[in-house]
């Protein structure tokens, strides 16, 4: 399957004439496959939004290549098949929700009956059919975000760029956006998701890229990026001697009343611990713990800062 996005040695340098240049994006390369939900994460100022803006043709790369749906980034034909939901989108406040959708439909040169039909469908889809005739200044942040989502779906795009789509939303709206992204995946759409909500990324994304200070630090599937982690073995009433005997096998030992939890790093040590405790204590549970995306993200960012 062809790639939806191809980025090669993409670099963006701001300023420079007075010697105060800032390298926002530093020679990054990656591909996003069609039908993939691709997470793009990094701390504030890492270069996420700059990269998205270059892919949309709003910013021009200093060097390198950016292709969207096989066309150069910013190509008008590519724009017919993509959409963008910026972080905390703002729309003309004097317009009603329906007028805003109609306005964006006009940008695709849709005729009046199509616009009317689309507006109704999209307001329904984002749960604003009852509020379509209210002006946007009467909308809450969550409702504005829903209008943002609706305008991003007008052209039934093949590729969607979502920049912090769940920022500042209540849990219901948050969940709705997550479900929307998953439904887009089912329809075979490609989603480029930039977010600080790492749990969202972990839930919906097929592959993830981590960017820090303009450089791509890691890229891969969640299975590739997140190692198996450790296993927590919980024993009941193990006795002091046994705890002392087993402690060298664990990274950490926690006592909680009659129960003692052993945090074990390797599979070999798990087996040794289970063999040694057999008949001497009651085994309560053996729970493997996978590293979370948040753990990985914090680990990488701290490492780079060092």
């Amino acid at each position: 399957m062809a790639d939806a996005i191809v980025v090669q040695d993409l670099t963006k340098v701001y300023g420079g004439r007075l010697g105060d240049s800032v390298v926002a994006v530093d020679g990054i390369s990656f591909q996003v496959k069609q039908g993939e939900i691709f997470g793009f994460i990094g701390p504030n100022g890492a270069g996420k939004t700059t990269t998205i803006k270059m892919l949309l043709g709003l910013l021009f790369p200093t060097s390198g290549k950016a292709e969207v749906l096989g066309m150069p980034a910013g190509d008008i034909e590519a724009k017919r098949r993509i959409s963008y939901l910026p972080e905390s989108p703002y729309f003309y406040e004097h317009m009603t929700g329906a007028e805003v959708i109609d306005f964006y439909c006009r940008l695709f040169k849709m005729d009046a009956p199509t616009r009317k039909q689309k507006t109704g469908e999209l307001l329904e889809r984002v749960g604003l059919s009852q509020d379509g005739n209210r002006t946007l200044r009467q909308y809450s942040k969550g409702m504005l975000q829903r209008i943002g989502v609706a305008q991003a779906l007008i052209n039934d795009p093949d590729l969607l760029f979502f920049d912090e789509p769940t920022s500042g939303l209540d849990p219901i709206a948050h969940k709705d956006i997550q479900e929307l992204i998953l439904s887009l995946k089912k329809q075979g759409k490609t989603v480029f998701l930039s977010s600080h909500q790492l749990s969202d990324v972990e839930t919906v994304c097929d592959r993830v890229a981590i960017i820090n200070r303009g450089k791509l630090v890691k890229i891969g599937t969640l299975d590739e990026l997140l190692h198996a982690g450790r296993t927590v073995v919980t024993l009941s009433r193990p006795g002091e001697d046994l705890v002392n005997q087993l402690s060298p096998l664990a990274e950490r030992v926690l006592t909680d009343g009659e129960q003692v939890r052993f945090f074990v790093e390797t599979e070999d040590n798990v087996h040794k611990l289970l063999d040694a405790s057999r008949g001497k204590a009651t085994l309560v549970s053996v729970v493997p713990q996978r590293q979370t995306l948040e753990d990985l993200f914090v680990e990488i960012v701290r490492e780079v800062r060092k």
Partner: protein, 286 residues
């Protein structure tokens, strides 16, 4: 369709700006108040009535010029920067919208807003001058010291050339809007505001820069400098017709013909400014 949609949205947005509403309301209020202006405190003499009408016309046209300047510059300086600040430009330019369509749509919206504002002020102004002329008609004719016969003949009759005066005000601010929009592609609103002021002041002195460009005693460099200034800066002096309207004896033969000529100049200048704005906006990072 795209240009028109962007223009319509720009008009809707601009008409709701409180600051522009205040300029308009104050200007209209002052034009209405000018009805009470009278040098003779009554319409008892034809001379006094003629002076009153001149006063109302002069005040009204001047006021419309000030309000028109404020509206076109205050609106123009924020046209592009505000779209970037609010991030509305991102959702628009990420759609299949060509950059020139966006910039032309914004300009069209700006001059439509200006047309609505100048139009409203113009209607009130013309109504006030008609009312004043009607008042003079009912007055008593006496001697006419200081007012020429040509001027006296206008008393009691609404001068249709007044409309061309309003059109001229609109045309000059249509040009200024294009200049300010061009600067708004790369200047901050505050810097652009003062640029707009500077360009207008230099433009108003169009006759002076022309004279300096052809002054016999000036050296070649100075002459060349003023020549460039005269060509590059829009000649807003051409649009100033208040004197001709107030003193019919110095009347331009055909006000309609003169307005058409100046209108053509305004159109050409606007075209050049918009072409430059489009060229610069094509490479603008948003």
């Amino acid at each position: 369709m795209i240009i028109w949609s962007i223009a319509k949205t720009t008009v809707g947005d601009a008409l709701r700006k409180k600051v522009l509403q205040i300029f308009l309301v104050v200007a209209i209020g002052l034009i209405i108040i000018s009805l009470s202006f009278s040098q003779t405190l009554s319409f008892s003499t034809r001379e006094g009535s003629a002076t009153d009408i001149m006063l109302v016309k002069s005040f009204g046209l001047g006021l419309m010029a000030v309000a028109g300047w404020l509206i076109s510059v205050v609106m123009g300086v924020s046209l592009i920067p505000q779209e970037i600040e609010r991030r509305t430009i991102y959702t628009i330019l990420s759609k299949p919208v060509k950059r020139y369509e966006f910039i032309i749509g914004k300009y069209l919206g700006a001059i439509l807003t200006l047309a609505i504002n100048v139009g409203l002020m113009g209607i009130v102004f013309i109504a006030v001058t008609v009312f004043k002329a009607w008042g003079a008609e009912t007055g008593t004719a006496t001697t006419s010291a200081g007012i020429t016969e040509a001027g006296m003949q206008k008393i009691g009759v609404f001068d249709p050339n007044t409309i061309w005066g309003v059109v001229m005000i609109y045309l000059q601010f249509m040009v200024l809007s294009a200049v300010v929009l061009f600067f708004s592609v790369f200047l901050t609103p505050t810097v652009n505001f003062f640029m707009g002021l500077g360009v207008y002041i230099i433009g108003i002195m169009g006759s002076m820069t022309q004279s300096l460009a052809s002054a016999e005693k000036a050296n070649a460099f100075v002459k060349m400098f003023y020549k460039v200034v005269h060509i590059v800066v829009p000649n807003f002096d051409k649009f100033q017709v208040t004197n001709q309207l107030l003193h019919p004896e110095t009347h331009i033969t055909s006000m309609a013909k003169y307005t058409a000529q100046v209108g053509l100049y305004a159109l050409l200048y606007t075209l050049v400014m918009m072409t430059l704005a489009v060229i610069f906006f094509e490479r603008k990072e948003v």
